[in-house]
Symmetry: C2
């Protein structure tokens, strides 16, 4: 039984494909737009259209961008001897916010995950090897999530790089206690790493 | 400092206007679409366009609809002597799901709320009076939320209807314990109503 007018049902169905959006949330979104007036809906429609038209992948680092190469790859002031390997484009924004890194990036677009249907060939690994072969890269930072797929992928990349380009330094992000955390609630691996990597003050 | 390509930032800003969607959720939505491919984005864009073009207000009951009068107002099998007054269009769907009501509706499009900027004249109250004057309505059910704005609005409508149309029966939804609830945690007003309105079995 259809509860709402057909165009409303259709929009609800389209919104339900979003992560963690169910029937109720999708309904709330649609009725928010219906109440907000045409301008807001039109703005969103226009923004989606621009996304479709203008956003593509940077052919160097595989970040999402509206220029190719993207503004980071095209920036001569960045250190092009360093590549920071990340899983997805939003990871770049997270690292950029720290203002601690001035090299380039490489987005894998996924991780090696035995439980998911990601194929090794879907990842931008070949593209990374091409960059390491053709450019004067001296360090690869593996900035992958510290979980099982992240660790598996990092270990695989590490081994490949050490074999094929023994001169390139491979590093990983430091493990330790996050700001504002409670020592009592830290898991043993994190606390163990924090101890092992303790710094003199 | 712009973190993402301009079209991505623009879409994030448009999404942040949705209820309970902040920067992080909006980012997740946009990157979901970028990963999902063009079809899903295009479907959503089309659905928004249809919403803009096809959905309007029913000029009888003020529900959102793609036909005016809406399919409920136009349905001769429904009981047109009864009007159920609700706050917003989604309330109609909630009542329809019960299969207990076969009359018509009237959407106020808001409530009398001293703390908000809703004006009495924004509500579809004049339109309700017009229906009560022109049609053979015998009962008005006030199906408003049992909270302060809902109660205030119900009391106001009740008084007006009793004065202007003394022959029309005005009713409210029953108060009582909801299914699956725990007597110990029921507030005293609900439990008091449940006691007062107890039914012989």
């Amino acid at each position: 039984m259809i509860m709402y007018a057909a165009p409303i049902e259709k929009l609800i169905d389209a919104l339900k494909k979003l992560p963690s959006v169910g029937q109720k949330t999708a309904e709330r979104f649609v009725f928010h737009w219906l109440a907000s007036g045409k301008k807001e809906v039109n703005d969103l429609r226009g923004a989606l259209e621009e996304l479709l038209k203008k956003v593509k992948s940077c052919e160097v680092c595989w970040n999402f961008t509206d220029t190719s190469p993207c503004h980071i790859c095209a920036n001569a002031k960045r250190d092009h001897t360093m590549v920071c390997v990340v899983t997805e484009p939003p990871d770049i924004a997270a690292i950029e916010k720290t203002n601690e890194y001035h090299g380039t990036y490489h987005v894998l677009r996924g991780l090696i995950d035995m439980s998911a249907e990601t194929e090794l060939s879907d990842l931008k690994i070949k593209e990374l090897w091409k960059r390491l072969s053709e450019n004067k890269i001296t360090e690869v930072i593996l900035a992958l999530n510290p979980d099982l797929p992240g660790e598996t992928t990092a270990m695989y990349l590490e081994r490949e790089i050490k074999t094929k380009w023994p001169k390139i330094k491979t590093t990983r992000l430091a493990r330790g206690l996050p700001m504002g955390s409670d020592l009592q609630y830290a898991d043993e691996i994190t606390l163990g790493s924090a101890l092992k990597n303790r710094k003199e003050v």
